[in-house]
Amino acid sequence: MNNYSNIPLQASNNGADEYILNMGPQHPSTHGVLRLVLKLEGETVKDIVPDLGYVHRGLEKLFENRAYGQIIPYLDRTDYLSAMNNEWAYVMAVEKLMAIEVPQRAEFMRVIFAELNRIMSHLLWYSAYGMDVGALTPLLYAFREREEIIDMVEAACGGRLTHNYYRIGGFRQDLPKGFFDMLKKFISHFNDKVDEYEALLINNVIFMKRAQGVGVLKKETAINYGVTGPNLRASGADIDLRKQDAYGVYGRLDFKACLRDNGDTWDRCKARMAEMRESLKILKQCMDMIPEGEVMAKVPKIIKPAAGEVYTRVEGPKGEVGVYIVSDGTEKPYRIKLRQPSFSNLSVIKEITIGHKIADLVAIMGSLDVIIPEIDR
């Protein structure tokens, strides 16, 4: 059945070579339940309309009926690949609203887990991206290292995917014994593994031919569309919230934003690869600098921020993860808006895929690294 009633796409009837292709919601390469309706001429994409909302859970409405402390686990389920970054954005907002000072040790721990999450997310992106472009082996290679990180996180908080570890004012519990040994072991060999990933997929001639010059995202377009994160930096914009806002203790750490020039698919891949290496550097520094001490600030039992509104954001693996809280002085938030990177990152897809082939569409989609629960929330 041609049930495209709500999709403003029409194949022209005079030529027989234009047709509508429904890609998704169940499709191997749409990363979740995203539906793309494509207008194709041969294999060339003429128009593209994303159809969203298949996993919408009404999180923002749910938040209005939860106490502040109860909201953290829900945030793990938006971008489930970098749960801690979402938690951080949220707890930072509440802390800012209540003017809570977080202990130094907790600040460093937050950086450590945020960076571990970043590597985790990029590793999963790498493996999924390998599948997108038809290479099946990268998946297993990346999962080998991802498993190590997950083991570390599991040792710290007990959760492997949805962590629920950050608390308003610090952390649920201190790091376990032996955590830094695991971290040290991971740091010692991970750089070589990134080389291996690059050799296996990113620097492969077939892949380079497919990726270079494809899906070019200009800097101005990217900013106008609100694209953030590695996607934006691959276009040459020197915008990294860890530098711009210097939240947490990022101001004291030495790292650089990983910029690329062209903004094509290949640059987005390279940017992520470089970012993993930078994250490793940050982890190394944190390991040396982390002080002993408390991990939880003095926080009242019932969290009741004063009336007001606040917006905080962190640099997640995919871009700007923001939480906007409007408080009315009660123990439940009046309104919470989640600003998540995939939402804006996906909106640019129409701009950069038209005129490319279906194979490129898949490659571009993958390189944007969108995750659907973030968009649907």
Binding site: Y19, L21, H27, P28, S29, E43, G130, M131, D132, V133, G134, A135, L136, T137, L139, L140, Y141, R144, L200, L201, N204, I206, F207, K209, R210, K357, I358, A359, D360, L361, V362
Partner: protein, 356 residues
Amino acid sequence: MDFKKLLWDLFYDTGKPLSQFYAWAHNLWMQTGLPGFILDVFFQLVIAVVIAVFIALNAIWIIYYERKFAALLQIRKGPNRVGPFGLFQTVADTVKMLLKEDINPDKSDILTFWAAPFIIFAASFGVFLVIPFGNGLIAGDVNIGMLYVLAISGLAVIGILSAGFGSNSKYSLIGGLRSAAQVISYEIPMVLTVLAVVMLAGSLKMSDIVAAQTGNPLKWYFIPQIVGLVLFLIAGNAEINRGPFDLPEAESELVSGFITEYSGMKFAMFFLAEYTNLFLTSALAATLFLGGWQGPFLPPVVWFMLKTYFIVTILMWARWTFPRIRVDHLMAFSWKILLPIALLNLLITAFLIKVI
């Protein structure tokens, strides 16, 4: 009769005892006064059954081998539950396939939808006629051997296009068209490389090509035709639609290409054909470039299998390492790179044959 000699002949000079047996049976048959062709038809049926059984067993083994090999490359274990070392995994999968519901999609074109898997399978089945498994172990040594291979294996395109058409699905259609374009494009460099070998051997007949390479490994054609071997492997890999040339069934783009709508036994037929084609391409490469069944000490059949599986392994290695090539690059690669090299290779070969 000397039993030991018979055994030796069976292993090393298979053609002789087989032809003796045939002559004996023929004589016996003639005494009954019935027309001779009935016996021939009977023998041909026996050969067909033997080949069919071989295809099935080989496919079961080759799938298991591929899964284990992929597991080796991917640092994992692969199938290890059903039977010792997971050896019966493919058997279990096949049984599952047989028992699964065979779905005809709504508005599918029944004739083409049903014909497609059979055409594809028949094409790969037919090629077995001229594969020289050993000394004299060849079902029909027709004098147009290589031409026959190319002609019959080209029929698979009709099956693929029919699968794309009959499924009444856009993914299938795109997959079918992609596949047909790909197979036609890569057939040309493939024919040209094969032609160079045929020129060297001076015959299209498979047994002649094998015989021309002699038992001495230095005389095998992979030395004068190393370019040809590489071209043949690339073009052959593209012809059988396996990674990195698996665009017709590109999972991430077209779900499963022309196989998308198939299920149950028809799906299994596609798989069977795919792995049979993999074996055939490797067998042809072994025959054309690696001296076929020839080799010291071991029986010819063993040599043939070793060489074939060596090529199979190379193709699998490529599949599990490389990302998928893009469709327009694929075409450009065939027409702009492979074809000129193949032509040049052919020219140089012809020149050398005339000069030397």
